[in-house]
Symmetry: C2
Subunit: 214 residues, 2 copies
Amino acid sequence: MNEIEIWTYDWVPAGPRGLVRDLRLRWACEEAGLPYTVRTVPFDGRETNHLSRQPFGQVPYLNDGEVAIFESGAGLLHLARKSEVLMPRDRVGESDTLQWTIAALNSIEMVTVPYWFLSMSGDADNALRGWRDQRLDQLEQVLGEREWLAAGRFTAADLLMADVLRVLKGSAFDARPATAAYVARLTSRPAFRKVHADQIAQFAAADDARAAAG
Amino acid sequence: MNEIEIWTYDWVPAGPRGLVRDLRLRWACEEAGLPYTVRTVPFDGRETNHLSRQPFGQVPYLNDGEVAIFESGAGLLHLARKSEVLMPRDRVGESDTLQWTIAALNSIEMVTVPYWFLSMSGDADNALRGWRDQRLDQLEQVLGEREWLAAGRFTAADLLMADVLRVLKGSAFDARPATAAYVARLTSRPAFRKVHADQIAQFAAADDARAAAG
């Protein structure tokens, strides 16, 4: 088997540590038992220094033999195709996992990330609040009725949805107990805890090298 | 082969005609030569009348034999797996198509749709303008260098990216000639023109039934 390479930055400031999206791919590999190596591209100059690998200047991207793939959602689906742990092999289970993976990216994150962007200027009651709340309420209804989003068991869709949701402020969970319990359940998995700690440790270790170079 | 069912609303107001996302699935079926039927759910009561099929109250969703799938992006990837016209069968071509399909959903549409949402209140210079412009500029750079996003030929990724981009105001294209040419090229394809006309005609025909019922 080819060793999977997960590419991220060589350093990030304290704020985003534990939140960089390479975590999604690390988490998937840990759940599936797929061997992987984390490799890095310089944070400084990231807007242009790896456009040939990621046309929006972001991370992560992934190498797997001859396959080179960017977009964390695409990398996750690529890994899911390699392991039944992440996605069932039957058509119904696979399409169920696929639809909820895309829902995390295009129905939930499409509003939660821009909402967060607007909130950074201090306006939690911004113009995207109503739309965000509606989507979270709809998701709360789903999660109130079942433990996992797709196929009656843990899949890549849960991994991604939990990663999308865990970054929200606590107020998003106050009146949504099923969502809060879901996120707590997913982020207490040993694979998540390991890769979360790994990412924070990696970026913290880079502080010294950066200080020495600076 | 099971007949594919594409579900949309039974009617929409004039504004969104030609823009409802069932178009993405119709377009894919036409490109691939996959037989399909368009079926409808009532527009009135859409917030709750089909939550068992689409948990956010939206359209489209798709039936294909035992597979039932929502999220236009997921339906598109499902169809792409059925036809090499939409996605190459080799691992490299397939992952290239996958990454650009996800990029349309999670790197471009993630900002263009919320930007449009904020613009509806008349503020084209809203807080998401800079982010949107950056992403469109990065995409312009890519499209300046090649005709198709993935695998050196038309794929589902082009279909989706063109559908995401075509709804933007003309000002988005003024300084981005490669993007403008790309959208023009994709939307001049016979399959797009057919399904665009079909969707508009279907909703217009429903005006009469609605008037009679009202």
